[in-house]
Symmetry: C2
């Protein structure tokens, strides 16, 4: 394993969105603010605050506008942390623009079944719409990340042809979008597939800023992240406590756990600027809040003592 | 990640020993026989039946001789699976010889504190004794694997100098022992350290048959296995269900889970000869037997459907 790329890893915590949307209990806004503030203080590079989605569909995300209003106030504004949000359609994008979102995330599913269930549109319809939105945001000088969901397989459809995934990536790339994430909604990624897909994207254009988003359904999440980094993936999406899952997928399991991931790369020798203990405290707090064990390891064991 | 070595991986399930010794409830011999038979039928290469240790110390291992007697009967003898056992001292070795053990495993801890707690001897005293035993077994044409426990760090002492670990390896090597395992008793291994230690052993002698034994205390177990294989490690020690831990270490957590590991390398494209469904059934049975969730992922989710 070539560790050359590990120092330039950018960590994007998506627990406040991908984590909380899966929980039956909604988190009150005071607690959300506290967790986001702790994530910022810990030194995580990008924190996903929430999604702009119909509140009837995902009530846990109803206060996303309000959260951004709070963090837009000069006294609360993070100095260097980027606050991202997921937007699903034009209306969400408008809300995001009004909220001065630091990074817009949006995507399409490579699985037609998942795409229909999630958006009511085919993959190609959904992508036309997403590309149009992304272009509008880029022309307004906004930071945008687009994704291919179910990029490594789908709980409904099983394997997804790698050519289909790469076709979607090429469409994004042709539209001038450079920050592209592959999301493993179902947890189907394995190190060999991760290696093939990202090296193919790198061959397409070495300047694509690649991102990854793995779920840990089968225990391969961390290994997939490490192989992705080796292949040049810079943005790693994780969730504190290992929370997470998509409510419209078949068998949901948590994201790769932020503090476990940070602990791993710190032990390898990188990103020692991040405050692991603070991350562990957030996970412990979340575990207490939801009154259950979360999937993360390190918040239970504490980090390795050297 | 170079996948070249993945096809020659040899899987050594240690759940019957490292797994069961950690459980407060002893498993009856009928159930043990059933699980071992299923492991054999699944196509696991080496199955560790138990340890020859003072029954007062680890009562869960009291029936190891009886288990070997059962599997030595012509009608029960596995055709190609090797049945291994852990031996801790000369008395255990004698019992193992009487039992016609297929592979003798024995080791010393690189941590002086762990060595004292586990054996009452310093590392170097323990190693002299182990080497003497290993030589005796080899001269009787027995298959032997020696190990360095706490090779990646120790719950009591923290970091263990890599030079100390390599020094122990060199002692083994000078004594003519070629099958050498590094055991991560505390779960402290990380991919960079795994890479450094195994590549150093490979440099010492490319013909050393390297083995690894990782615990998953911090979630890095599977990633460590994959990096170890890349570095030329052939024998991978895992435990069904992710059971396991050393009763004399500080913070014990399960071994890398056999069925999760098999699922991973099968998804990567190798060892499709192993019957994953059968492994999943054993883990489910064990989970029912101990009336608790085990750490493994795949026995809960089922394997990825392609």
């Amino acid at each position: 394993m070539n560790l050359e790329n590990f120092n330039s890893v950018v960590i994007h915590d998506v627990g406040m969105r991908d984590g909380l949307q899966m929980e039956s209990e909604s988190v009150d806004i005071e607690t959300k603010i506290e967790w986001i503030e702790e994530l910022i203080k810990s030194g995580i590079d990008i924190v996903q605050v929430g999604s702009f989605v119909h509140t009837g569909k995902i009530p846990q995300m109803a206060d996303t506008d309000e959260l951004f209003q709070y963090f837009n106030k000069p006294e609360n504004k993070p100095k260097k942390t980027i606050l991202s949000a997921l937007v699903l359609n034009e209306k969400g994008m408008e809300r995001g623009l009004n909220c001065n979102v630091g990074m817009f995330c949006m995507g399409v599913s490579a699985s037609e079944t998942h795409s229909m269930k999630n958006t009511g549109m085919s993959t190609s319809e959904a992508q036309s719409r997403i590309i149009k939105m992304a272009k509008e945001l880029m022309s307004a000088n906004k930071r945008v990340q687009v994704s291919v969901q179910s990029a490594f397989g789908c709980g409904f459809e099983g394997d997804i042809a790698e050519d289909k995934v790469l076709g979607i990536v090429k469409e994004y790339h042709s539209a001038g979008i450079k920050n592209i994430s592959l999301a493993d909604t179902a947890g189907y990624g394995n190190p060999a597939k991760v290696q093939r897909l990202y090296s193919a994207i790198r061959e397409l254009d070495k300047d694509v800023e690649m991102a990854c988003h793995f779920h840990n359904t089968y225990g391969m999440g961390l290994a997939n992240c490490l192989v992705a980094i080796e292949e040049g993936v810079k943005y790693i999406e994780t969730a504190f406590g290992g929370l997470g899952g998509c409510p419209f997928t078949k068998l949901a399991a948590g994201n790769v756990c932020t503090e476990d991931f940070v602990h791993t790369i710190q032990n390898i020798g990188f990103r020692k600027d991040i405050d692991l203990d603070r991350l562990i405290k957030i996970a412990k707090h979340a575990s207490g809040f939801f009154v259950k064990d979360l999937p993360g390891f390190v918040y239970k064991s504490g980090g390795i003592k050297h």
